[in-house]
Symmetry: C2
Subunit: 159 residues, 2 copies
């Protein structure tokens, strides 16, 4: 099974095809944090202009960001997350929390909190039937509606 052949049966791979390069994920992080203008993103990341242009065009093509003009002469745009872009929030939050856990001896640089009570939020798997949080050891994978039943193997362990 090569990368291309397996693509139709793996949502992780489809996601990485769309947004899975390091620059793209860092650009998305900036957009979530309100850094939306080309020049500010460029300065923030230290990325070459041509690379940033290519990544932003790709994100726009994927419908993850949309361009919003903020100046006419010369024309300048901000890059805003679409609903599809904002739906990446749990993925970026999970990547951040892992970094907090293993690469932040001094404690998390940024905490994500509930706006109502300022409690630090947990990211967890939830079972609506049992009305409980589910530990990773109790997660199993099962073929879904979009499963390719000629897929070469079933999964011993879930993601």
């Amino acid at each position: 099974m090569s990368i291309d052949e397996s693509a139709p049966d793996c949502s992780i791979q489809r996601t990485l095809d769309a947004i899975g390069d390091r620059w793209t994920l860092l650009i998305l992080r900036d957009l979530f944090r309100g850094v939306r203008r080309f020049s500010r993103i460029q300065a923030d990341l230290g990325i070459a202009r041509n690379l940033l242009t290519a990544r932003l065009n790709s994100l726009a093509d994927e419908g993850v960001v949309r361009r919003v003009p903020y100046q006419q002469r010369p024309p300048r745009h901000e890059y805003h997350l679409t609903d599809k872009g904002r739906a990446l929030s749990p993925a970026l939050m999970a990547l951040m929390r892992w970094g907090d856990q293993y690469y932040s001896d001094a404690g998390a640089p940024i905490e994500l909190v509930h706006d109502v009570c300022h409690t630090r939020l947990e990211l967890q798997s939830w079972c609506t039937t049992c009305d409980t949080a589910v530990d990773p050891t109790h997660i199993r994978s099962a073929p879904g509606r979009g499963h390719d039943f000629e897929s070469p193997e079933d999964h011993e362990h879930p993601i």
Copy 2:
């Protein structure tokens, strides 16, 4: 703020430094699914041997995987996720769910379910004070213990 200068203050960036390349994330996906031997990972991903060796060495150096011998002559190893590696489960689950949502017209190829009741699991932010799931619009970011207070800006929006 360049990539390197900003690294100490961003857990997403630290995470991407450790595991944020496309091959590495696909290797981790395979390990979660029980594909643990070099030859099987290589065949599954269609990755060049030297690239796979480099990525697995890097994951071992980071403490994300450990080598477990399964054969003496010639020596052969399986790659097992450590606790630190398994802690990436929510991140990979979140990337998968986004792909399900936006790139799976036929439905999710794989569902993650609770082993007790087979209910499809949700990944959500949870507030232990309010005992409720928290929508992304109600998440705010705040400086944590490890925050660099000389950081150039506060974040308008959370991840």
